[in-house]
């Protein structure tokens, strides 16, 4: 908006020079009008599909849900129930474990692969495509394929482990392992997306820095930690915020891989916040309670994002 008005205004000044200050205001007002009209579709979309549902969710979290949208005010009842719910603590724990492992590991691997794919090697585009493929694949398809790979009795992974004499675990039905099995898939499927952002960041680093470092006698490891990593921090910051929010909301992989109605002994011990929200809201028709779960999740994400925003001044370098 600023850029547009500052570009347009000099010309307009010229055209309407003899006019008074009052008409200038009118000009300005018309600029504002157009600017808001231009962003109106997005604004309306945001308010209708994001802001209003958030307000509604917060309101509904204080209600008791009856059938078909009938609800009555229940005050803090849902939150009291939530504090007593053993599943809340399981879900919180799992969400945190998932986030703490999946995000850093995913970022580290993506940076590593992005640096590799930033070299001049033969068939580079093929490699890049291969690493990006999981991103364009639907989560449902990814989950179904991995379900088969992980199958303890007939799956490929345990078959291969068997060839070298290792008896593979029950990946997706052992409560002690299932969450980590999901994390592996999550990391695998997030690499492509992160990698592309890191590649863009890497391409933005001027070659001259490396040439200068080379003259000073720095090796590739030193160059990576002294040049590449600091200059990549804006990309790392962006990726860490988006993947943290994504990790807090993890649902599809867990729901599809561990199944909810199959009678999987691992499901209960592997549920996350979003999963808790889904089963309460859509499977047992407990709308008010599910809204309370969503509000807790929203608050968690807000806090973590705020901390990240604060901390970024310490480690993100923009030039």
């Amino acid at each position: 908006m600023n850029a547009m008005s500052s570009q347009l205004q000099p010309e307009m000044h010229a055209a309407v020079q003899p006019k008074t200050k009052k008409s200038l205001n009118r000009m300005k007002r018309s600029d504002w009008f157009w600017a808001y009209l231009m962003i109106a579709p997005t604004l309306i979309g945001l308010s209708v599909f994001y802001l209003w549902p958030i307000v509604q969710t917060i309101y509904l979290s204080f209600t008791k849900w009856g059938g078909f949208g009938k609800y009555k005010w229940a005050g803090l009842h849902n939150y009291e129930l939530l504090l007593k719910d053993p599943y809340l603590w399981i879900a919180l724990k799992n969400t945190l474990i998932y986030t703490v492992i999946a995000v850093p590991v995913g970022i580290a691997i993506s940076i590593f692969i992005a640096v590799l794919l930033n070299q001049k090697i033969k068939g580079i585009t093929i490699y890049r495509t291969l690493y990006f493929l999981p991103v364009v694949t639907m989560a449902a398809a990814v989950a179904m394929v991995w379900r088969w790979l992980y199958n303890a009795d007939y799956g490929l992974i345990n078959y291969l482990l068997g060839l070298i004499g290792i008896e593979g675990p029950r990946w997706i039905s052992d409560p002690a392992i299932a969450l980590y099995a999901v994390i592996i898939v999550a990391v695998w499927s997030s690499i492509g997306y992160n990698m592309v952002i890191f590649l863009a960041g890497l391409q933005g680093i001027p070659r001259s820095y490396y040439e200068a470092a080379e003259i000073d006698g720095a090796g590739p490891v030193r160059m990576f930690f002294k040049i590449t990593l600091p200059l990549l921090t804006p990309s790392i910051f962006f990726v860490s915020i988006t993947s943290l929010i994504g990790a807090f909301q993890v649902f599809d992989l867990i729901y599809l891989m561990l199944g909810s109605k199959m009678g999987n002994p691992a499901t209960e011990q592997t549920q996350t916040m979003a999963y808790l929200f889904f089963t309460n809201g859509f499977e047992s028709g407990n709308g008010g309670y599910a809204a309370a779960v969503a509000v807790v999740l929203l608050v968690m994400i807000l806090i973590v994002t705020a901390i990240q925003m604060k901390l970024q001044k310490k480690w993100v370098h923009y030039d």
């Binding site: 009795d153 009678g263 209960e268």
Partner: protein, 426 residues
């Protein structure tokens, strides 16, 4: 300027209308004066089973031939999203005119005034409800009112793999079998080296422990739908039937069955016997492996010779604009003529007594008659007003018992206690 704004507003309106329109676009056609003669009326009919779609389309066509002023528009929604969609439609007041319903949902929809009560129409058109299995008519009666005309039903049978029986030189199961005989043969047929099990014992209700609970004299929910039967020793006995099979290694473990479904194991010759519904007949008939290697027989008897029956019904939305035409269509769907069309397709057992023979002939490979015989002895599928709430808990706790994380007694008693709490709030 004004013109531009009005264009923008108009564009926005179109966008908003486009979002909410969806599958309902034809509903408002000819809405004025619903019963006016000769006026075109379009009714929407929602269902979830793709296998039954051709039969339903044919019924709609036949109905349209007789009632040229009524068009039926069928909306197919996959089972997984069906109830989420209906719930949203009911909340927003846009339910289809006619739709399929099942046992677990009926009271919730009826008690919240979402459905048109049908008793008066049934009386006025003197429809004989004795044409349908009694358990089904009862299932769709709430507060003394009929809310649905039964459409089809399903019962459970003991499916078995003839080849595995032949290989082990064991005679096929028959109506003389009881629980002990089943256990004995299941153990006999299990061959760990080959990865073959005598039976599959997944923690499923309708095609599993509901049947054995009834057979041992227990119950899931009391007749007045006020208390749970899960703390009764008979109920626990019915559950133990299954966990014993796992503990004695005649069945894969709960973990194994959660990774590879029992049906998949059965279809690849890894399982000699399994409890499964009449709805599997057409799938087993189309499967290259199972079509000539498997058959079905009566469930082995417990203390009582019974099983569970469930079936679907056609209901009319309470706020339909054309109640008269909708009733005519539901009446046709529930009629003998409608049932014959469904029977010929083989996709489901029609509820109308006497038309089931046609269904039997649709798949001659299997001894399908047992499903109809079992219907006469069967008990209705257990439901309450908010079935979904305790059904979820049931799955959770039974999974724990099956996986050995909890004893069957503890899981069952905890379920009874929590279920009673939920029922008292309904």
């Amino acid at each position: 300027m004004k013109k531009l704004v009005s264009i923008a507003m108009a564009a926005l309106l179109v966008a908003v209308a486009g979002c909410s329109g969806g599958g309902q676009s034809s509903a408002p056609a000819g809405t004025t004066g619903s019963t006016a003669s000769g006026e075109k009326v379009t009714l929407t009919y929602a269902l979830w089973d793709k296998n039954q779609l051709p039969a339903m389309e044919e019924m709609a066509k036949k109905f349209n031939e007789k009632n040229p002023n009524v068009d039926i528009k069928i909306e197919l929604t996959p089972n997984k999203q069906y109830w989420t969609k209906m719930e949203a439609a009911a909340t927003g007041g846009t339910l289809p005119d006619i739709f399929w319903i099942n046992g677990p949902r009926i009271i919730k929809y009826a008690a919240n005034d979402m459905l048109l009560p049908l008793s008066d129409q049934i009386k006025a058109d003197s429809i004989d409800l004795n044409n349908y299995p009694k358990a089904l008519v009862d299932l769709y009666t709430y507060d003394g009112q009929n809310y649905a005309l039964p459409k089809d039903f399903d019962t459970i049978g003991l499916w078995y793999n003839k080849k595995l029986f032949d290989d082990a030189k064991v005679p096929y199961p028959d109506e003389t079998w009881d629980w002990n005989k089943l256990k004995e043969v299941a153990k006999q047929l299990t061959d760990e080296k080959k990865g073959v099990w005598g039976i599959a014992a997944p923690p499923y209700g309708q095609d599993g422990f509901y049947n054995t609970i009834y057979q041992s004299g227990g119950y899931i929910i009391s007749e007045d739908r006020k208390t749970s039967g899960y703390d009764k020793p008979e109920t626990i006995e019915g559950l133990k039937f299954w966990t014993d099979l796992i503990n004695e290694k005649a069945s894969p473990t709960a973990a194994q069955l959660s990774e590879t479904e029992a049906t998949q194991l059965f279809e690849s010759g890894k399982i000699a016997m399994m409890y499964n519904g009449s709805w599997m007949a057409s799938a087993f008939n189309k499967n290259e492996y199972t079509k000539d290697k498997v058959d079905v027989t009566y469930l082995p008897k417990g203390k009582e010779n019974t099983s569970v029956i469930h079936g679907l019904g056609n209901v009319i939305s309470a706020n339909t604009k054309h109640p008269k035409e909708a009733w005519e269509f539901v009446k046709f769907l529930g009629s003998k003529e409608g049932a014959e069309i469904l029977a010929k397709s083989g996709a489901a057992i029609p509820a109308f007594n006497g038309t089931q023979d046609t269904w039997l002939q649709s798949i001659p490979n299997f001894n399908l008659k047992i499903f109809i015989d079992q219907a006469t002895l069967a008990k209705p599928y257990p439901i309450s007003k908010d079935t979904a709430k305790w059904a979820k808990l049931e799955t959770e706790l039974m999974t724990k018992a099956w996986a050995g994380q909890m004893s069957v007694e503890d899981a069952s008693k905890e379920l009874a206690q929590k279920m009673n709490e939920m029922l008292s709030q309904e």
